[in-house]
Symmetry: C2
């Protein structure tokens, strides 16, 4: 019943007009040839794959879920998922941003992220399989031995095999320092791994012949806690020296989770029973090796909610236009019909615009971050690489937490636009809400993201990175100082920038006295920071649109962009007033609650 | 996996210490004998039924859902549902607040609402069956002919039959004026009804031998729109004069909806194919007749989310206490364990306290409203009845919309406390979130409630009812003017009261110029009003607790109440700052969006 149209025009706006990605890529030798036309052509084809192949499998995948065979330990995915992956492989899509050395197409991350937004709009559950594979690819690319790279990377690039990341265990949650899986060294230099992992996405499935598991485990001499964790690569099938598949290795799926959403994604309990593995990177440095791709992975989770926000918006808007019910409060709008469309109601418009503003703001921010990762990896100037790295480290928890919180708000608002139909499965909207819920949890809960942002990325260097970032705002505000048409955007942005400085200092001072103040303020702080960054990008988008209109361009796209920007500043940004107030009210009301939480 | 303990202590606090319900009931001849001990005994037994009979069926009911037989049109409910209803009937629970004239126990609505909170905590889906029946009972009690009352009310009171309310149709949604079901008069004074209804809760099921449908339909001479709707009673089986069941009537379930939640509740598409019905009340006055029980029904929906908030809170708190993971930012709290409990983290406490404060505030407000309905129905003094009626009319949309929005926020926060486990079905938390979502939609969406509050109940008499209500705040603030221990509660309450007056006037003025300003501000306004009312009840609860503590009472219950009150004022109430700002930013940014919403 729902439909999906890839938002290519808005992607092109962000890539070409807002971020000027093609120009930025010219400075990166690896991507200097990637021009706007190439990107557009790739995204157009990628959008077709998403809309035509994946999207039709989204509802059925949710209804069928995955099935686990108790005897063989094999997982069967929903109808069509395997065939869609074969088409994905045949189209060369796994290779899109992989290293040409291993058969990749070498396109920038920023293009891959656009592609993944569309995959997630079409079918978040299915997209987990290649998404996790790509994360493992990056980890092996950064930390594998040359032999490991030669063995695994070509097959992950081609899509002949897929991969997983086996991190947490039942008693751990976020605290991986507690994990117990053991790795015992063998005479031949390999290790035997024994333990149990949970929440392993794509731990088993029926897409391909082999699965490459990256597994965190402890060596016998490992220090306790997070400094005693090593990373291993464990193949589902034992491999000979040429990468030919041998007998099953001692790692298998011992059960599936039944979940609120992303039901087409196989969330596996994995048992390691003397599985043969090989060390990746240095002993006891497994967490650091695993976290190398964490920025990209967390931005990837933000893109999941961005994708859901976009598709939910499209369907809620279509419904609101067609649904004829009641009359406008300000007078009948369509007297020829028995009722007006519900789009006449201000609150319906508010719910729709909330989703639209969050989607388009999120697209701008996350693609900005993806470009930073490309610069961090590929810019010839070390200082540019370092600056990009510093900036993306600060923005990543915002993309992860702010976009996924917003995705929850937005998909729920879109559901509400459909009234009772929003609650009914066949309309598709309730699945977007259920799927969106996990994004606030995995890859580090949004509370963890907020602590990372405030504690480490902001207060960790006394606000230096934030201050540097604020110069972007200063420049923009100065540019538009005399422009009345831009006042509605740059004035609240400037004001929030000033408030943010004082707000950060205040929390920093409090935290010196009581470290729990960071934990008490972090989530509020994260949302204020999210709005500061969104306000900057919305002002920049308004600037681009305003200049087009001033130059006589009549494309309604720019009118739409300005209207959405106005909405954002009037109706979403003011959330910051309450957030700063609640954060300022401190942590004591949370901690002095022994009786209340007894 | 989840557990449920009826919150009897907090109910007793609200009933006996805060609202002084037993004293208030003494003024109502129908309930003068209902003392605190009676109420406690009923609620204790009711809580046992909820926790022991219904709660164990909640997860299985969700998983199994209802099943419809295409050939017989019969609906089968989940395992155990029918037996639970038989126990409900055997215990006399359907009769709890029914009229003794028809076999009822005649207990006040306020007791029935406490009971329903517990039923909803235990199993919202199951509770839909008796809940809707009771709504239909009230409608027939108010508008049925003596013959209809004699025929139907005893069987609805005993639970021998159940009932439905057949209102909307596929193209109507909230706009019942569009409905098309026809009622043709017959020579014998009956009517033949033909049409299709959707979203009919309990439209068919296997609990009892007969179902009494209240159906909205149009007479042949009906004016168009909402002034041409009449109400009919249609029995599933044709009845003879003595109420003996005859042949099936021409009304049957033609399909079930597959939903996001409340899967154990049969949400039916109903076909009327020449069904024999009888007029209830006056021709063309069906909507008014149906709306007689709307206040109680809408408060009932608030109680659904209250119930879910309470049970989600209980389980999230238990999890947080037991879950050992990571260390406190302010230093290790349990060095003897490998990690601290997650309860040491400020944001975990904030999520828990959000649910607790919303549950306890919601309980105070909704039971206050239930008592008002008892006064409206039974007080000997006409002026008291009129005042109660006026007040409950204003507060009802707040209970419905504010409590259900809060329930969504709170159940989602509780899910987040469980991290990844929150997303997994066996932990039970995700079901509370899914079930809670419908409460924001049915019985009039929360947007509709907000319009009802601002447009009709507040601006409809130039704020007179609101002003009258504000005198409660003035009295409380004056009472505690010199009490430093109460300053943290009464000062923000007084401030918000003043802000509310100015805020209301401002929106009222704007609305004179543009009626859409009401629609643009209504949802923000509803939440501000909700906080005003919650702030009043939280200050009152703090007052009761403060006085107990000042008198030397060491019961930690009162400490807990004060701590939760402090949390509410510091961390939840400040939402009003942003809400007033977004409302003031007006409706133009919503309506001048033709390009954006093209």
């Amino acid at each position: 019943m729902p439909t999906y149209t890839p938002p290519l025009r808005d992607m092109q706006f962000v890539l070409n007009e807002l971020l000027q990605v093609p120009q930025a890529l010219k400075a990166l030798p690896a991507h200097a040839e990637t021009d706007a036309d190439t990107i557009s052509a790739v995204l157009e084809e990628g959008g077709k794959f998403a809309a035509e192949v994946l999207f039709p499998l989204n509802a059925t995948g949710d209804q069928q879920g995955c099935h686990w065979d108790r005897d063989t330990h094999a997982v069967k995915t929903p109808d069509g998922f395997k065939q869609a992956f074969a088409q994905f492989v045949a189209g060369g899509w796994p290779a899109l941003s992989c290293d040409p050395q291993y058969g990749g197409q070498g396109l920038p991350i920023v293009v891959n992220q656009c592609f993944y937004e569309m995959l997630n709009s079409a079918n978040q559950a299915w997209t987990m399989y290649p998404g996790l594979t790509h994360g493992a690819y990056e980890c092996l690319h950064a930390h594998g031995t040359p032999e490991q790279q030669a063995l695994f990377l070509p097959k992950l690039t081609s899509g002949e095999w897929t991969a997983t990341m086996c991190l947490t265990e039942a008693h751990c949650g976020t605290d991986l320092g507690l994990l117990r899986t053991k790795a015992e060294p063998q005479a031949d230099g390999s290790y035997k791994l024994t333990g149990n992992k949970i929440f392993i996405s794509s731990g088993d499935h029926d897409f391909v012949s082999n699965i490459v598991h990256l597994v965190l485990a402890r060596l016998p001499d490992a220090p306790v806690g997070s400094k005693g964790i090593s990373l291993f690569v464990v193949s589902k099938h034992v491999l000979d020296g040429q990468g030919q598949l041998g007998a099953p290795n001692g790692i298998y799926c011992s059960g599936l989770e039944h979940k609120m959403g992303i039901n087409g994604s196989a969330t596996c309990q994995m048992t390691l029973d003397g599985a043969v593995g090989h060390l990746v990177g240095q002993p006891h440095k497994g967490l650091a090796a695993m976290f190398v791709m964490m920025n990209a992975a967390r931005i990837g989770v933000g893109m999941q909610s961005l994708g859901l926000t976009e598709v939910a918006y499209q369907n809620a808007l279509a419904y609101a236009k067609e649904r004829i019910q009641s009359r406008s409060l300000s007078g009948v709008k369509t007297p020829e019909k028995p009722a007006d469309s519900i789009l006449v109601h201000p609150d319906v418009r508010k719910m729709l615009l909330t989703a639209k503003a969050y989607a388009e703001g999120g697209r701008a921010l996350s693609l900005h971050c993806a470009l930073l990762i490309d610069q961090q990896l590929n810019h010839p100037d070390e200082q540019v690489r370092a600056d990009a790295s510093e900036e993306v480290a600060m923005l990543t928890p915002i993309v992860k937490a702010f976009l996924t919180d917003n995705g929850w708000t937005a998909t729920s608002a879109c559901l509400q636009v459909l009234g009772g139909h929003g609650f009914i499965r066949e309309w598709g909207m309730e699945q977007y809400v259920r799927d969106a819920r996990i994004n606030m949890i995995y890859e580090g809960t949004n509370t963890i993201q907020s602590l990372d942002l405030l504690g480490r990325k902001v207060l960790g260097n006394q606000g230096a990175t934030l201050k540097k970032w604020g110069q972007r705002i200063t420049v923009l505000v100065a540019e538009e100082a005399g422009n009345e048409d831009m006042a509605a955007f740059v004035q609240p942005l400037a004001k929030l920038g000033q408030q943010m400085t004082a707000f950060t200092q205040e929390i920093g001072m409090k935290a010196l006295g009581n470290a729990d103040e960071v934990g008490g303020a972090a989530v509020d702080y994260m949302r204020v920071a999210g709005h500061l960054v969104f306000a900057y990008f919305w002002a920049r988008m308004a600037q681009v649109a305003q200049r087009q209109l001033a130059a006589g361009n009549r494309d309604p796209f720019y009118q739409a962009k300005l209207q959405t920007a106005r909405f954002y500043f009037a109706k979403l940004l003011p959330e910051t007033a309450s957030l700063m107030q609640t954060a300022r009210n401190g942590v004591d009301v949370l901690m002095d609650t022994e009786a209340a939480l007894a």
